[in-house]
């Protein structure tokens, strides 16, 4: 089986472009051009140079010695938390801003939940001197004040999404409506491997630099370019897509995806889409999503704002259904505890999203010779307030 996107924009049963006609020209323009432009030597040169000199790539592949000893296995962390702006999100925004310039767009819109993608978008817009508007749920604006301030400092306009539940899915709806209203001059930088084709594939390709580097780094460190397990947290799934990308069709590598169980899968307050989702359409993509029996999309919950998306990207829906990847879900409490554990064992304070992934160590057993690579996708600075309140620091 092939786990990459097919020429029609599907991953198995999932994907496609279920969009209103108003978006057709924009999406068609992107579909015609994204492979062509990104394959140009000049694009690659510019992209690679920015990743190296601006983002700070390659990020280290760090052998986590104390953690490995504790779990009697070989654990490596791909340090995406060391990227400029504090997470992997910027890999994608750098790629998309270069593409937007080539498409002649002079206005950028984006959606954001926790604010990480919004900050990463505002950053590259400042870098290129392009107007930037970020849609953010009204509730999230209140919850994530420091990231709102960062976006404003970077010159972006933050527009509150006041519809529906006033969170990430509504911010995405508002960004899509903006794109419908501004079809000519605007490029929409989606932050995850979600949305209509070609977005999931395009974002996965920009994030694939993660596993490309892992291959080179592992070869140097271990004498082979593949690990036994790759593990990442999945909300929409962009950091996971980046870590899995070059191993999707390599059956020697076991893929583990960690979702947020929130207050527990059966609590009614969860974001574990693989366990709770049904096939449907969200934001232009056929995928698994959490919804009522009547097909109304439900509001997910996780203590980490970056994981509370009611769907997963179509690539992940396919990995789940085809059983290529193993999906597990981790409740708030275990994720928070792992935030503390990683801080004190390795001196790395992870984002709460990232902390979820490490709980796989308590759920799955790994052999002493096995190589396990985690995507350490983001740093915890943005979550300090949540950590402070939770642990009474």
């Amino acid at each position: 089986m092939n786990y990459n996107v097919d020429e029609k924009g599907y991953y198995g049963d999932f994907g496609g472009a279920y969009i209103p006609e108003m978006l057709y020209p924009n999406v068609a323009e992107l579909k015609r051009n994204y492979l062509k432009f990104t394959a140009e030597p000049e694009f690659k040169k510019e992209f690679d140079a920015l990743l190296k000199n601006y983002v700070g790539r390659p990020t280290p592949l760090y052998f986590a010695k104390r953690l490995s000893e504790k779990y009697n296995t070989k654990i490596y962390l791909k340090r995406e938390d060391l990227c400029h702006t504090g997470a992997h999100k910027v890999n994608n925004t750098v790629g998309q801003i270069l593409l937007a310039k080539r498409l002649g767009k002079n206005r950028i819109i984006a959606e954001t939940g926790a604010g990480q993608h919004g900050v990463a978008t505002a950053t590259v817009c400042a870098l290129m001197g392009i107007e930037c508007i970020v849609y953010m749920g009204e509730l999230d604006i209140k919850r994530q004040a420091p990231n709102v301030a960062r976006m404003k400092m970077l010159g972006a306009e933050v527009r509150p999404a006041q519809s529906g539940s006033k969170t990430l899915k509504d911010a995405t709806n508002e960004a899509i409506r903006d794109w419908i209203n501004n079809p000519v001059d605007t490029h929409y930088i989606i932050g995850s491997v979600v949305g209509p084709h070609p977005y999931p594939d395009m974002v996965a390709r920009f994030q694939s630099v993660i596993s490309e580097e892992v291959k080179t780094q592992l070869l140097e460190l271990e004498g082979r370019d593949y690990p036994d397990h790759v593990i990442a947290c999945v909300g929409g799934g962009s950091n996971a897509a980046g870590l899995y990308y070059h191993y999707l069709n390599d059956n020697r590598v076991n893929i583990i995806a960690v979702e947020a169980a929130g207050k527990g899968i059966d609590s009614g307050e969860s974001a574990a889409t693989s366990a709770l989702g049904k096939e449907g359409i969200i934001h232009g993509s056929k995928t698994l999503l959490m919804q009522t029996d009547d097909g109304q999309i439900t509001e997910p919950y996780s203590i980490s704002a970056g994981l509370d998306y009611p769907g997963v990207g179509p690539m992940h829906a396919h990995l789940f259904r085809s059983k290529r990847a193993e999906f597990i879900s981790v409740p708030d409490q275990e994720a928070m505890d792992w935030g503390l554990t990683l801080s004190q064992l390795e001196g790395i304070i992870p984002a709460i999203e990232t902390a979820h992934a490490f709980a796989a160590l308590d759920i799955r057993k790994f052999g002493p010779k096995e190589i396990v690579v985690f995507n350490c996708s983001g740093r915890g600075d943005k979550d300090l307030e949540t950590y402070i309140n939770y642990f009474k620091l």
Partner: protein, 256 residues
């Protein structure tokens, strides 16, 4: 096979007024009274909106009426129950308009069957693309006598319009401007030249203009170059302010 009511209506030698409303708004059980009052007021066709939690092509008015309808308890099953037997009272064409996800959850085949039993004439599903419809659903819709209408916008290329024209039945839904739904008080030169461009393409399928029609002026401007026009947001605002019993007065302000 019985002729589709949309087909028959579009053969009439007059301009058509169609009204959109969200089922379950303002009150859960208003669906049938609204339909009866619309027909009595001389409306030619109705689009009944199936409310959805994430209506991404809609502006604030329809978003709010959808949200309110869902809070009132509207569901696909509930709507079909309300519409059961509707053909005893209503003769004008009835179109269901909604997003694809609730239909998928209901089961597309079951959905089409229920539509046929009730006497629904067609569907408008903004997020079901033309090509997917043709590959996967056209046969099913045909079997149940359901037309599926597609949208075009000022950004749609001539080539694509020709393609949509070729595969359409019923009518083509012309979105008046590059915008989500919502009432406008006038149309500018850009809209007029777009209406003229489409008129001059001499399409096989009749066109109906929607999005931004709110009063006699925009209705007249739209129907000068097309067979009809659809009013949604402006009607919903009226319902909210004046209620179901005053529908005739709203229709009078549009058609005179």
């Amino acid at each position: 096979m019985k002729q589709n009511r949309i087909e028959l209506k579009f053969q009439e030698d007059k301009k058509l007024l169609s009204i959109y409303f969200s089922a379950g708004f303002p009150n859960l059980d208003d669906t049938v009274p609204i339909l009866r009052n619309l027909e009595a007021a001389g409306v030619d066709m109705v689009e009944i909106g199936l409310p959805f939690s994430d209506p991404l092509a809609d502006g604030p008015t329809i978003q709010e009426s959808s949200t309110k309808a869902l809070r009132n308890g509207m569901t696909t099953e509930k709507l079909f129950t309300q519409l059961k037997g509707i053909r005893k009272y209503i003769d004008i064409p009835l179109v269901l308009m909604g997003y694809f996800n609730p239909m998928m959850q209901f089961g597309i085949e079951k959905f089409c069957q229920r539509c046929e039993t009730i006497g629904i004439d067609g569907l408008i599903i903004p997020d079901l693309p033309v090509d997917v419809y043709h590959e996967q659903y056209k046969n099913l819709f045909d079997q149940h006598g359901l037309y599926n209408m597609f949208l075009i916008t000022p950004q749609t290329s001539d080539e694509r319009i020709r393609y949509i024209d070729k595969v359409s039945n019923g009518f083509i839904y012309m979105v008046s401007s590059a915008a989500v739904t919502g009432a406008k008080s006038t149309f500018g030169a850009i809209q007029t030249s777009y209406f003229e461009r489409i008129e001059n393409m001499n399409l096989i399928t009749p066109t109906v203009v929607g999005f931004g029609i709110s009063n006699a002026a925009t209705y007249t401007a739209a129907t000068t170059h097309s067979k009809g026009a659809i009013i949604g947001s402006a009607f919903i605002k009226f319902l909210e302010e004046k209620g179901v019993d005053r529908i005739e007065s709203f229709i009078k302000t549009i058609k005179g």
